[in-house]
Amino acid sequence: MPVYKYGIEIIISSLIGFLLIFTIGLIFGMFMKACIFYTVFVYTRRYSGGYHADTYLKCNAVLLMIYIWVLFFSEAMISGYSIIIHLMILIVYMSSIFGFAPITNVNKPMKKDEINTNRKRCIFISVVWCILSLVLFFVSVKYAIVTALTLFSISMLLIIEKCRKEENIYEEDSK
């Protein structure tokens, strides 16, 4: 019974996130950007982990805020965007992946070998995203920006979660 309850919970939660992203994408006429954002975000976070809010509502709200930020920032950046900025974003992303990934969630404790497997997969998928985004830069800059900003948001979520964990350890030690 708990397995089915758990399955239903993650299906409903994921479905809400999915519908929110694609509805907003359709409303603003940015369906392709929604596809890129959702694929890169979901597939990478599966192996990297990172910050999660403590309720379904807050978590979906954070996802939505990140998505809207990526959509509108990608539009705003398009005129002054260059390969240097692109490479800098990718360097920040890869540094956070090599430095921190994966960061496990308190609700999903992992064994050392599982963490190692996820780390290898995360590095592999990150390299693939970086290569794809560099290819995209020469094919279609606007989609390359969306990919880069999505990767950047994943790295920020990793850093936030790392800081939160460090803070918790520090607070427990000082008690």
């Binding site: 758990y6 192996y47 999903k108």
Partner: protein, 47 residues
């Protein structure tokens, strides 16, 4: 009516079981809030 209801419920049950199995072992499933993973699922995955 009862037959249709049973069919729908069994499809939902199968989907939720499959989602739970896929989520087990992933650091963060579908990027959203992660509910507490049942210990039973973890034990089953070990076998």
């Amino acid at each position: 009516m009862k037959k249709i209801q049973n069919k729908i419920l069994s499809v939902i049950a199968k989907a939720s079981k499959s989602a739970a199995d896929k989520a087990c072992g992933a650091i963060s499933f579908w990027g959203c809030y992660q509910p507490k993973e049942p210990a039973m699922l973890r034990e089953k995955a070990k076998k």
